[in-house]
């Protein structure tokens, strides 16, 4: 069945169950991926997947939901029936409705949908990339984590009020993580990820170069003394920390009592006036952009922090109604609708006189710690308490030289971190999760060797 036929089938089956109100989200995907090990194909994978999430409203306007991968006539009937049963347990204290924006026009970017190149080409390209990475430096002994994939998918949202929207996309990804070893030294590992609309759009050479340079740059390592340091966050690591604490902007988290913000936090000063943060799912560099969210609300650019102050929260239909505003295009589709950010854009505002602009990661010759990449986010972040303690890859810059840090964690509090931003560099860099310049923060605790 195609998406139109599914909609018709659901409508018919809903009529039989006397269900007047329903909506659904569906996705259909074909994925292909390869991994290699020293020139040999290791695992080659392909998958065809379909998934349908159905919501129904019963006579008491309570919502029930079911998810299924069986999109046959009988599968759809079963799912509707189960959703109807589940609606008896629908949340009586927080109603859910269709998004009032589910019929608004959506901005569909130039789709740049590519055709599959096929497993054989994926394998050839990855083999070549592995060889080049291994040959790039004598200390690189293996590329234990690697993969090249391409995906083709369609996403659909429709409801019983006649809303219907869908889009199709393609996406490709390459990751290369190299392992370098030298005699009597600990092995070091680092890597790079690149995304594109298709395999031919991937900058494979730059992925190889990045993975090699990053890995080699960590070969000369040393432990770091446990202390407080001036920190420079790479664009990637700053985006990681902002995403980890995005519950600050999340209306769902606020209502659930797990955010550091509350309903009255709009306007609260979080940081230097030099900081602006946006969520911009439709950003031209966001390969994974979606023109609408799980409830069919169009995706849009939203300012989260304006000149250091909270400007907006991200919403689903129900949180927007509670906050007396409109949905922002950040909802999932579930029994309890989740809300999440899409693509964070960090920039320097016009109000930046209080910054220490001499802090530039490429020229500053004082002592500081450069955090290249933060790890183990799921373990080291307590979003509801605002604290973090995270291992990282990075360097200690001292007296004009830099040395890789052997193994260390950075710990602190997100509100302290935001308040202690002392510089926002001018140049923004595009990463796989957003856009940000380098960000400098004064006095964060680093634990290395005591």
């Amino acid at each position: 069945m195609n998406s139109r036929e599914i909609t018709t089938q659901i409508s018919k089956a809903a009529d039989l169950l006397n269900l007047k109100k329903w909506d659904y989200g569906a996705s259909f995907s074909n994925d292909y991926s390869v991994q290699v090990d020293k020139g040999e194909a290791k695992q080659l994978k392909a998958s065809q997947k379909q998934i349908l999430t159905l919501r129904v409203w019963n006579e008491s306007n309570l919502v029930g939901i079911t998810t299924t991968s069986d999109i046959s006539e009988s599968g759809i009937k079963k799912a509707l029936n189960q959703a109807n049963i589940a609606s008896d347990f629908g949340n009586k204290n927080e109603r859910t409705e269709f998004s009032p924006l589910a019929n608004d026009p959506i901005k569909v970017k130039d789709l740049k949908k590519r055709n599959p190149v096929g497993i054989k080409k994926l394998l050839t390209l990855l083999r070549e990339a592995e060889v080049k990475l291994l040959e790039s430096h004598e200390s690189i002994k293996s590329v234990p984590y690697n993969g090249l994939s391409e995906s083709f998918y369609e996403r659909v949202y429709a409801n019983s009020d006649g809303a219907f929207r869908s889009y199709t996309k393609s996406q490709a990804a390459l990751y290369l993580y190299a392992r370098a070893e030298e005699k009597d030294r600990k092995p070091r590992s680092s890597g790079s990820v690149k995304l594109g609309y298709g395999v031919d759009d991937l900058d494979i050479e730059s992925c190889i170069k990045d993975a090699s340079n990053k890995t080699i740059s960590h070969l000369n390592y040393s432990s770091i003394k446990t202390d407080k340091y001036l920190i420079c966050f790479s664009p990637e690591s700053f985006l990681t920390i902002i995403n980890a604490f995005s519950s600050i902007f999340n209306a769902r988290s606020i209502l659930d009592g797990v955010s550091l913000s509350n309903k009255n936090s709009i306007g609260e000063k979080l940081s230097t006036e030099a900081l602006n943060i946006y969520d911009d799912g439709l950003h031209e560099k966001n390969i994974s952009s979606s023109p609408f969210d799980g409830e069919g609300t169009p995706t849009k650019r939203l300012c989260l922090i304006n000149k250091g102050r909270i400007e907006n929260f991200i919403h689903s239909e129900s949180t927007a109604r509670i906050f007396k505003t409109t949905p922002t295009g950040h909802a999932g589709l579930g029994s309890k609708v989740s809300v999440s950010t899409d693509w964070i854009v960090v920039e320097k505002s016009e109000e930046n006189l209080d910054l220490k602009t001499s802090l530039d990661h490429s020229t500053y010759d004082g002592e500081f710690v450069y955090i290249e990449e933060l790890n183990a986010i799921h373990a080291g972040v307590r979003a509801s308490q605002g604290s973090f303690s995270l291992p990282f890859d990075g360097w200690l810059y001292k007296n004009g030289t830099k040395i890789s840090i052997e193994s260390a964690t950075v710990a602190g509090d997100i509100k302290y971190l935001l308040k202690n931003i002392v510089n926002i560099e001018l140049n923004q860099e595009v990463t796989t999760s957003g856009v940000s310049p380098h960000i400098w923060v004064d006095e964060l605790s680093i634990t290395g060797d005591a």
């Binding site: 695992q43 392909a46 379909q50 998810t67 347990f89 204290n93 183990a376």
Partner: protein, 474 residues
Amino acid sequence: MLSSQIKSNEIEFGSCNKDLLEEIIVYGMGLGAEFVEIFIENTDTASVLAEEDHITSVSPSFGRGAGIRIFKDKRDGFVSTNDLTKHGLMRSVSQAIEMLDITDKKNREVFNGLNKFRDYSLSKRTWIDEVPSIHEISEKLLVSTKSLKKNNKIITRKGSYSRNLQEVIIASSDGTYTSDIRLHQTVGLNVIASDAQYRSSGSRRFGSSGMPNEFRLWDHEKAANEVFESSMNMLYADYVEAGQMPVVLANKFGGVIFHEACGHLLETTQIERGTTPFENKLNEKIAHESVTAIDEGISEGSFGSLSVDDEGMEPEKSILIKDGILKKFISDRAGELRTGHKRTGSGRRQNYSFAAASRMRNTYIAKGEYSKEDLINSISDGLYCKSMGGGSVGATGQFNFAVEEGYLIKNGKLTNPVKGATLIGEAKEVMPKISMCGNDLELAPGFCGSISGSVNVTVGQPHIKVDSITVGGR
């Protein structure tokens, strides 16, 4: 000779699918595959969330699909699909053959038909009717969240339940033909406490496999008391001061450190990648002589137990480390093929869309001879990690783990609670420093994410003492 009965054109759960499965395997072997494996799955899951005094989410879901794996030489091709018709399965086989670029249809391997059906599901078909209803689950979760409301410092209360009933059929060209039904139930309680600028959280999760009645027997009052006390103890805790120090890790979930830091390095997937420091250490000392570590899938009701693994092999009890000596690796079919380590019944996957890989099941450090007090009394200045949060291991073996509930040890006694602690180290450096093991082994359920998705496991240990480890803090 293969059966010549009338063949079905679609997989039917609870029925004999032998003819159709044989036909698919014969088809794959005829195209030049050395080995063909078919994994077919039907799932029925439900989750319920209670927040404060309301049910806020009920989410049933259903899924069915197949994972087809073809081996040629030491390479494998894996295709997953939701299409369980004969046409769909054969198309997947063809796709896997094409991916592996198999052009030589001559085959050294011979398929002699599927063996006698091993049906582990027979006594489990009634489970779906025996598990608690959504109504029953909701009632108990609401009683549980009510039990968490012990004072006005508790600002959020949550109870969550999820149940996964998974029926699998596994057939492969070595004759394996089996079916099983797996039931996993898990329930968790979480609170956030707040007082002025102070905030803390507490959480516990409980889980079982193959025990439909287990949720009904769950002692929610005891669980609520534990969670509440943990959050209150930590509410006004200071941040721990970073440094090197001896630590005592509590039993049950304290075992997550062994699981993450050492257990993963004993999976053959890590040998294949060349990312384990223990690759050539079989029968060598890799840990303190007080350490014996086990991985097994047979403890009744434990979250990581199974009747048969996802490659059709019954799980065994594997002694990984005996008195500090490395004795065995955790291996699956591909691991045996590529590293030579015999399969251990550890081929596991999240669902049909993942190829099985060598994964832990119930993994724990065996009990020793000391009491918890013996361990604490032996430390003049250190840290007691009563409850561990999550953790991770880097590509070169460094690990880090958050301590959810910690207390300073001063002169052999527990003193102030401390927060923000992270344990940092490397398995090969820390394992020799586990100098004392308690006599109070207990297991705890968890989910482990890795190459073949998220699988149910248990971690466990008695109280253990690590002589020195880096503690991250402020």
